[in-house]
């Protein structure tokens, strides 16, 4: 391997380094031609470089942080990639975000519905338990009551006086089946008296003696006529109670659940009130253990019996009532008053007992509505139907509950439980309006509804903030975007701001963006910048850098977009080890003046001409294209202050600044630029700042700055005296003594330029040594 080959390798790699991998390989092969050794060598190095670049790209992301600081969004957290990716996936696009929010709401709603059902089930279950407990309690009270009442009547039936009278009745009965004898005998009056007295003493409305041979009531304490005997003498009992009668006849004490007069007595002829009775039948037994008669004690059902069930009212709608095997209500309901206003109780005096059929009217009738079906056609309410069905089946199931809402006799949705007493042939139902039972559920539903609304609102906010997160997420990705441009890399940093290379988002044209560091304290400043940028962008001379665009970043930093220049600053050219050729220096000065002319013609001074602001560029093969940068921009910001900090430092701007501008930063006299051109020229040909030149002169014995000291500042022998004299005239402290205008400079430099031409070849030679691989 030798030098030549290594150079070849280097330049081949330089040509392909920015290309995509595949293209690069092809190009390398093409460039190497038949030289296999070269190709092998180039490829081996290229592979290594390519591999490293992939890694570097990753690392590059960190440098972007710097940019962020300047561009703004410094709050954006640099999250790990994973988090970012997730966030992006979830919140990144609007659709995903919406889906997420909707999903969240659905899940919340679903949870609400499920817990609603769960709570409902729980409530209903406890309702069921409560109802059953209530029925059990009621039933216990009822059993005790029955036991007491049975006991009472059994004791009465053992009364010897009664037994004696019963014997007499029995014997008379045996003689005369028509009871005519009995009616005439004193026994009947005695018995009636006893019955009246005993009924009164023992709290019976009526007491009667029933025959032991056939279901008849022989004597009673009710409706006593003038003969001293009840009008209800020798009357047949209704069929409905035959079974109970037979039980009593067989020596059992029997309780008869409520029964209406009309059913109690067969072929009832007497005018009696529509009343419902409960009856206790107790056999009267003689010493031979024969049933000689039956003692009956009767009471209105609405009294003691009903009260047992009415004790268990609670809440606003819970109702407990007894019903018989005909599906009739046989105790007083709690809604009697309300029911009297409906068709259910036609007469305002009617009791619910025995008059309410427990049938489903199909609709709520409590507010005057009338069912379409007649009561015969109506089905029993579900719970009654249920109870009666079991009885019909004879499956010994005597209790049940319905927690699925069903319509009761009022047509209102209720839940309920029942208990049947097979030994007494009636049952008890306890019901509660479904709405009341689930009142607490309604509270839950309200709570949930409010909760859900809050969640909805929060979701909306979340959705919005997600948008913001997503936006930040985007920023994390695209924070290097300013306007239409994507920041690429930092080119440099100055006192006022930083310069980045960037490219147009769509066109991919490279540009340079200068972002100013200082945030704007007031809009005045912003207005001035805007004005200046506008003027600058109106300059179109090829030696003036083009300004394309301007604006403010999110951080309120002002920025402007310029033409991207591939070149070297004049400062660096001068500082390189070789002194600048005379022709090149003149060439640069000449072109600077051309650039300035356009601005000066518009009455606009550059005000900050210095080597740093001049670039020599390679523009598409045109070498040493002079570009003047930073026209009039950002100079006014505290020039006096930056003066003080920079005045003592070598390399600061003031070295090229006209003295009158140092005194008055807002001086806009065009002649400040003429001074700067002069100072710049001095610098080009001496490599030193004016201040240094002056101080050197002072050190070497010059005592004053009078006379022609200016003309002797440049020591280079190749610089013609007319040039150094002209430059010296440009840096006169008195603006009036300087050349009158830019045109004068142009004429002068043009002439010199023609005399000392800087040819394309000269430029090319220099660039070959500077930008070696281009």
């Amino acid at each position: 391997m030798d030098k030549e080959q290594h150079n070849k390798i280097s330049s081949i790699i330089a040509k392909v380094i920015d290309l995509p991998f595949d293209e690069a390989i092809i190009k390398i092969k093409k460039a190497c031609g038949t030289d296999e050794d070269l190709e092998k060598e180039v490829l081996s190095l290229y592979h290594d470089i390519h591999g490293e670049e992939a890694i570097e790209k990753e690392a590059n992301n960190t440098t972007l942080k710097e940019i962020t600081k300047l561009v703004g969004r410094k709050d954006s957290v640099f999250r790990t990639k994973i988090v970012t990716n997730w966030t992006k996936l979830l919140f990144g696009n609007k659709r995903n975000r919406l889906i997420l929010v909707i999903l969240f709401l659905l899940v919340t709603f679903g949870l609400g519905v499920i817990s609603n059902l769960y709570i409902r089930d729980n409530i209903l279950e406890s309702e069921r338990e409560e109802k059953i407990a209530l029925l059990n309690t009621t039933s216990e009270i009822f059993k005790r009551w029955i036991a007491t009442e049975n006991n009472k009547i059994e004791n009465l039936s053992k009364d010897s006086e009664l037994i004696a009278m019963a014997k007499a009745i029995d014997s008379l009965e045996n003689i005369d089946e028509t009871y005519a004898l009995l009616k005439k005998s004193d026994v009947s009056r005695d018995v009636t008296k006893w019955l009246l007295k005993t009924a009164k003493n023992n709290g019976y409305a009526i007491m009667s003696i029933l025959s032991n041979s056939s279901p008849k009531s022989i004597l009673g304490s009710g409706l006593i006529d003038s003969t001293g005997i009840s009008k209800m003498f020798n009357i047949d009992l209704g069929q409905l109670i035959y079974k109970d009668y037979l039980k009593a006849k067989n020596g059992e004490t029997v309780f008869l659940p409520p029964i209406n007069n009309y059913d109690l007595i067969h072929n009832f002829e007497l005018k009696m009130q529509d009343e419902t009775w409960i009856n206790f039948l107790c056999p009267i037994i003689d010493e031979h253990n024969n049933v000689i008669a039956i003692l009956a004690g009767s009471n209105l059902a609405k009294k003691g019996f009903s009260e047992i069930f009415n004790t268990s009212k609670h809440g606003a709608t819970s109702e407990t009532y007894a019903f018989n095997n005909e599906g009739k209500m046989i105790s007083s309901g709690r809604f009697t008053e309300d029911l009297r206003k409906t068709y259910l109780l036609k007469d305002t005096l009617l009791e619910t007992i025995y008059n309410i059929e427990l049938k489903d009217p199909g609709l709520n009738v409590m507010h005057g509505a009338k069912p379409t079906l007649s009561s015969v056609e109506m089905p029993f309410t579900k719970i009654v139907d249920n109870a009666l069905n079991h009885i019909k089946l004879g499956d010994s199931i005597y209790h049940g509950s319905l927690m699925k809402p069903y319509r009761d006799y009022r047509g209102i949705e209720v839940i309920g439980a029942y208990l049947w007493y097979p030994e007494h042939n009636f049952g008890v139902i306890t019901e509660e309006d479904f709405d009341e039972a689930l009142a607490s559920l309604v509270y839950f539903r309200y709570t949930f509804f409010i909760f859900f609304i809050i969640i909805l609102v929060l979701s909306f906010l979340l959705f919005n903030s997600n948008v913001r997160i997503a936006r930040i997420g985007k920023k994390v990705d695209d924070f290097s975007i300013i306007g239409q441009y994507k920041l690429r890399e930092k080119l440099g940093e100055g006192g006022f701001g930083e310069v980045f290379k960037a490219e147009h988002t769509f066109l991919k044209t490279p540009v340079a963006i200068k972002i100013l560091k200082n945030q704007f304290a007031n809009t005045d400043m912003l207005d001035r910048f805007e004005k200046e940028v506008k003027i600058t962008s109106s300059l179109s001379h090829p030696n003036t850098i083009k300004v394309y665009d301007y604006g403010t970043t999110e951080n309120n930093n002002f920025y402007y977009v310029m033409e991207f220049l591939n070149g070297i600053s004049l400062d660096k050219v001068v500082n390189s080890n070789n002194e600048i050729p005379l022709a090149r220096g003149i060439y640069v000065l000449y072109h600077l003046c051309l650039s300035l002319k356009e601005a000066h013609d518009k009455g606009f001074a550059h005000r900050d001409i210095k080597p740093m602001n001049v670039m020599l560029c390679n523009q598409g093969g045109a070498y040493d294209v002079v570009k003047l940068l930073d026209f009039g921009l950002v100079k006014n910001v505290d020039a006096s202050l930056s003066q003080q900090t920079q005045i003592n430092r070598i390399g600061g701007t003031p070295m090229f600044m006209a003295p009158e501008r140092i005194r008055d930063p807002f001086n806009t006299d065009l002649r400040v630029d003429i001074y700067s051109i002069g100072a710049l020229g001095m610098y080009l040909f001496s490599g030193q700042y004016l201040l240094e030149l002056v101080s050197q002169k002072m050190l070497t014995g010059e005592e004053t700055l009078q006379g022609d000291f200016r003309n002797n500042l440049i020591e280079r022998k190749d610089v013609p005296i007319e040039l150094s004299e002209f430059l010296a005239s440009c840096i006169r402290f008195d603006p009036n003594k300087r050349p009158s205008g830019i045109d004068e400079l142009i004429v002068f430099f043009e002439k010199l330029n023609q005399k000392n031409p800087w040819t394309r070849k000269d430029a090319l030679d220099w660039w070959k040594n500077y930008d070696i691989y281009s």
Binding site: N7, L45, I49, D771
Partner: protein
């Protein structure tokens, strides 16, 4: 005795500071690298020796940190511009390379080629005692590269030992940054390849 010595040293460093600064200041007009180099070398050698004395296994030192330390102690920064600064670093890069190589060579000249190691040129190298031999082989590789392509070898020296930025190297060598970037990439790849085959 130690106190006057200390004062003496202090004075000495002050004088040196002025001298170095002056030299850097005049770089533009005539090249004084030859005068500057011994001053910088001595200082770096001194700093490095101080560290070597406390040397223990796993002990690391970064050449760029040494160079920066030298810059602090030798240069009056207020008196210097970018040109002088970058030149100082360029000279220092050369000097620190010599200091480290000298030390490594002295220590384990015999222990060579013992096993594989990974050299990350990008890191600016965290130099540790164990890496003495890397230093030697890198130095050797650089010497080879110098013969092939002087500027590329220089770029590596400035970047690796001087910790200089691309732009600074470009300015120092008077070429475009693009040139430096390609030099660096090619040189890096070449060095890796060379050192792999050399072991």
């Amino acid at each position: 005795m130690s106190i006057p010595l200390f004062i003496n040293l202090n004075n000495m460093s002050k004088n040196k500071k002025h001298e170095v600064t002056q030299l850097l200041h005049n770089i533009g007009t005539n090249n004084k690298s030859a005068d500057l180099y011994p001053l910088v070398y001595d200082n770096l050698h001194e700093i490095a020796e101080k560290l070597y004395r406390r040397e223990r296994p796993g002990h690391t030192l970064q050449p760029t940190i040494l160079v920066n330390e030298a810059y602090m102690s030798l240069v009056d920064q207020d008196q210097i511009d970018w040109k002088g600064r970058s030149h100082f670093f360029a000279v220092s890069a050369q000097a620190i390379r010599r200091v480290l190589v000298h030390h490594a060579r002295k220590k384990n000249a015999i222990k060579r080629g013992s096993g594989e190691y990974h050299l990350d040129l990008e890191e600016g190298l965290t130099y540790s005692v164990e890496k003495d031999e890397i230093m030697l082989s890198l130095d050797e590789a650089l010497e080879h590269l110098e013969k092939l392509h002087e500027r590329q070898a220089k770029v590596v020296e400035l970047k690796f030992f001087g910790g200089m930025k691309m732009q600074e190297i470009a300015d120092e060598l008077g070429v475009s940054i693009k040139t430096i970037e390609i030099d660096w990439k090619v040189a890096k790849a070449w060095l890796k390849k060379f050192m792999r085959s050399d072991i």
